[in-house]
Symmetry: C2
Subunit: 343 residues, 2 copies
């Protein structure tokens, strides 16, 4: 990232701040009025011309005002932006808006989404805790009928995964409970990869009696690992309306391409998975990602992680590139922190 002298930075700053509010190209006259430098519009125009040469802003058409480019936003975020501090009062409000009692993790994640939605007016997304590296707490077999057995796997933090396996014979529930207990003895503190090995090796002695169940479980471990298979339980998407109210999406074609892009959750999942192991805030701007489907969008993400274990996921906020970063960044950050505490 190139250096910019102070005068240039100030002009870029005001262009972006204004564009964030109005969503229309910003002209030299406006900047001249706003700027503390007390320069005439003509001078500002010179500065703008060279900011454009450096690639930070551009003109949508000859003789329009200037609009920030992706690198413009990037520079702004990295070098100019001062994020707002969240007041203690606001922090307390956010914390207390989580109503935990009687709620499983999924509900809590939805609460996070709604909170983000209310505060930011952009589109929140949440990736549920990954199950691959999370420790299993409990496995239970429940007989549904002659041929079908429900396997319930509870992961640390309270995330539950259900799978149905078909039995090789008609197990009695009592029998199943016995096997549940046996498995639960070896489960403690292992993730599914480790358990797979343990089951394959250690249970050999008497495994004939419930061989098909064990096989079923191992098979389902693989299903659980492939989180994409679980899309609807893995990625939660908040209200789209806020985004669609933004002026850049106020035409038919754009709104349709947006809906299409969000309907296939896999691209968003990929994006969030990039960051779920990493600390801190990550920001994707415009066409930075391979996610070329949609230009003009930015994504702010932060990961969360339970204190004791390895289970973690990430939360994010999708908005127009001209989003209010000063507010959005600390909000995403703080809600991720809250989730760490709660889970």
């Amino acid at each position: 990232m190139e250096e910019l002298n102070e005068r240039y930075q100030e002009v870029l700053y005001y262009i972006i701040e204004e564009y964030i509010v109005t969503a229309s190209p910003v002209g030299s006259k406006f900047i001249a009025g706003k700027c503390s430098l007390n320069l005439s519009p003509a001078s500002i125009r010179n500065i703008m011309a060279s900011l454009e040469e450096k690639g930070y802003i551009y003109q949508p058409y000859f003789s329009a005002g200037r609009v920030p480019t992706s690198s413009g936003y990037k520079f702004y975020i990295n070098s100019i932006l001062k994020t707002k501090k969240i007041s203690k009062q606001q922090k307390a409000d956010m914390r207390s808006s989580f109503n935990i009692s009687g709620k499983d993790i999924k509900k809590i994640l939805w609460q996070a989404i709604n909170l983000l939605s209310e505060i930011s007016h952009y589109m929140p997304i949440v990736l549920a805790p990954e199950r691959t590296y999370a420790n299993l707490l409990h496995i239970e077999f429940i007989k549904l009928d002659k041929l079908n057995i429900l396997v319930i796997m509870v992961f640390e933090g309270g995330f539950v995964e259900n799978k149905i396996i078909s039995a090789d014979r008609d197990y009695k529930q009592i029998e199943l409970s016995k096997y549940s207990i046996k498995l639960n003895e070896i489960i403690n503190g292992h993730n599914i990869d480790e358990l797979k090995d343990i089951i394959i090796e250690d249970i050999d002695k008497e495994r004939e009696s419930f061989f098909s169940l064990l096989n079923g479980i191992i098979f389902n471990f693989d299903l659980v690992k492939n989180e994409i298979d679980n899309e609807n339980d893995y990625l939660f998407i908040g209200s789209r309306m806020n985004l669609f109210d933004e002026p850049e999406f106020s035409n038919y074609e754009k709104i349709k391409s947006l809906i299409k892009a969000f309907e296939d959750k896999r691209t968003i999942i990929k994006l969030l998975e990039l960051t779920k192991r990493k600390e801190g805030i990550h920001i994707f701007i415009g066409s930075d990602t391979e996610w070329s489907d949609i230009n003009g969008l930015s994504v702010i993400t932060a990961s969360y992680r339970s204190k004791k274990g390895f289970a973690g996921g990430s939360i994010g906020l999708i908005g127009p590139s001209r989003m209010n970063y000063a507010l959005a960044i600390p909000t995403v950050n703080y809600i991720a922190k809250l989730l760490c505490d709660i889970i």
Copy 2:
């Protein structure tokens, strides 16, 4: 519903069939060419004028062609329409596109949604089986940490509900398992309302030992009953794209009002709940419902129900009022039947 002589019916029929395809007003010349009656456009116009008087069609503006009204569609569906029979081959295809092994009910319902989406190109919706009247199969307590206990409730058909309750003291997992077993002994074949009474009355003798757990369960029974609380696990909505591709929603305002209407799932839930106890197909046309949010939509619904028990829900298809009823109705019907078999 008034009687219509054959000639009138034929004209109405062709107007609707054509409008279903083109989505634009149908003129007399076209009908004259299509009709087996061999009448001139002028005669058709006379017939159209009196169909309009009866309220089956209308002109969007003076000197446009005719468009069916809600009552027009209703008459068409009840008296003229001959639904397509689904061939054995198609039925077999549909059946085999369900991949049941290793899938819990939720996944199967999603498969139903995807199937409906592929076949119909409208927007499928599915209401998960109601839990209030479904029998409980299994209850399990799992210790998450000192203060939190996960309660897993498995309903017939394999639907699983998780709730977290906070404990009054630090239960050991072994202890919790004991209580699980005790509860499971009395559970069999009762729904949550019945169980509530049983728990309150019958377990009195030694309930002091896990009094708070029982209380927690009873409280959660009430939560489970209030299915609206579970929106995201109760109503599943399929791909919206198909609907948005329909020409009547090809402008910004309409598409936005549609999105808004679907974002609040409660209206759709109410609609589906009206029919989930009733046999057979139900069709809501245009502004028939109190669901005045959106005109120009129709909803086809059918209920499904597991054979043994009382647990049932419904599936539906939302499309423009000018939807292809001949195909959509038997498809919804057959998929509902398939669900009955599978669950």
